[in-house]
Amino acid sequence: MMELIQLRNVLKSYQAGVQQVDAVRGVNLQIKAGEFAALAGPSGSGKTTLLNLIGGLDQASAGQVIVEGCNLAECSSVELADFRLQRIGFIFQSFNLIPVLTARENAEFVLMLRKVPAEKRHARIDILFQQLGISGLEQRRPMELSGGQQQRVAVARAMAAEPAVVLADEPTANLDSETATDLLFLMQQLNREQGTTFLFSSHDPKVIGLADRVVNLKDGRIVE
């Protein structure tokens, strides 16, 4: 399998008042296409920062973040927006669906941005909603859905455009354990059936246990 994501000596520092905080310290990491990998570690270990760097939401202070051969440090904000649109699917901890859009519109949104014709969009979302067990909820607004249903819509949105990688930041943190396990199984199923690369963060051992590969982080560094 080819390497989809390469992190070379990545450093990310923040300025918190007069103090400099190193959230990620010299991380080297390779993720291959089709992996179902987890970033594990306690709060403040740098999981979210690493996902943000890989997703092009943030830029490294030093080192290289290369996704599908694209060095993100060399991209403008517009190029990064296009990179996220074309290559990345995001799943957030707090679902982050757009409240004024229906479940279907939320899931279709990325396809619309990519100007996919309506028929193809509908067909793709119908399949995903069926796979994720949320058929029949297409016309509901986010506030009319449970947390688990909202997160499944978020998974559908992330998967809709068949991205190179889906980055999920604590996707089960706001779900009860049963719903969390169900969601992880669904993500795993999508990974196996469609070959989509998943990289998710969690500090829940049950969730991490489902990953094919676990990358442990502590104080911004990868630990064995």
Binding site: N52, L57, L85, N96, I98, L113
Partner: protein, 407 residues
Amino acid sequence: MLWQMAVRNLWRNWRRTLLTMSALVISVSLLILSLGVFSGMFADMLASATQQYHGHIVISKLGYQEQRQLHDTMQYDQHVIDQLQATSDVYGVSPRLRGFGLLSRDEQTEPAELLGIEPGRERQVTSLNEMIVAGVFPEETRGNWIVLGSGLADKLEVIPGDELVFVTQAADGSIGNDLLIVRGVFKSGDFNRDNSLALVSLAWLQQLLVLPEMLHEISLSINTPMEATPVAKQLAMQFPDTMEVIDWGRLLPEMQEAIASYDVSRLILVLILYAAAGLGVLNTFFMSVLERVREFGVLLAIGMKPSSIRNLVLLESLILGGLSLLVGSGSGVLLTVLLSGDGIDLSRWMTAVTYAGGTIPPRLRAELVADNLLIPCVTLLLVSLFAGYLPARRASRLRPIAALRGD
């Protein structure tokens, strides 16, 4: 999709949207109404100055309007009058002769300006025939009738049916005098005119002044008074250099200045009202953007371009402005139409005001003018766009990571 999102975003906080819209609707409708009232007032002033005396355009011998010399006459030429009447912009043509002298009755003597007219033609140029308060406006082109301004009639203590004597110096140097019978009294509301002007038949005055078949001026009314300048220029080409064709703007320079200053005050009024309304829109959209920072972060994260975020907020402001425009201009037009026609009579509380050569009657009357609709509408759209632009720019400049954190 942007449209759908924009409409739904506006509706998600419908109370705030309706409040902002109300401010815009009230601004637009009040602005259209107040500009309409201004226009009505100036139309009344212009009408009083032109329809009570001058007409919109006057043709006379070069220098006559400044000097009013008895000998500065021109030939009464029926062909010229017919030609003028046939001009498409021209509504009415009235040949006139003017004489100054003394009007007497018993012991009372008053200086007066006598305007010799053909009643049928004059009523197409001025509206003095509609201002008769006693007697009638004569129809005869000949005869020794006289119609007096109300102030003059009061001073001479005459009523219709009474006799007057007019004494003047004729063009041949002789003293001309004749007996006149009062047929009517008019009241224009203009103090000076009502106290000095009298109408007589053109033929009678020609005979008295020994100016047979002569005129001092031809007064015209035109279909679009605000276009008097270009029409006058076009008509001037038909006359020799010894003649002048003067539009009301040159006859009444104070009036023209008053109307020009109105254009400036109109702009100031638009700016003041819309500055307040614009700040309201600005506040609404800044609030709206600040509340949705995290949402914009999500949109940026999933690949929406910053320019699309900016367009979304701009679209919301345009929709808000457009809807306010529809409702506001509709109610503004309705209010203006309700106040058009005769308007509201205010004569119980105020009297007519003479200003810049015209008379503002004691009434609240509005006039619907295209400019008064166009200026508030276009400005409102620009204000909405500008008020939406600053928050839109802010939204489009958000860093996705900071926005997702809600910073």
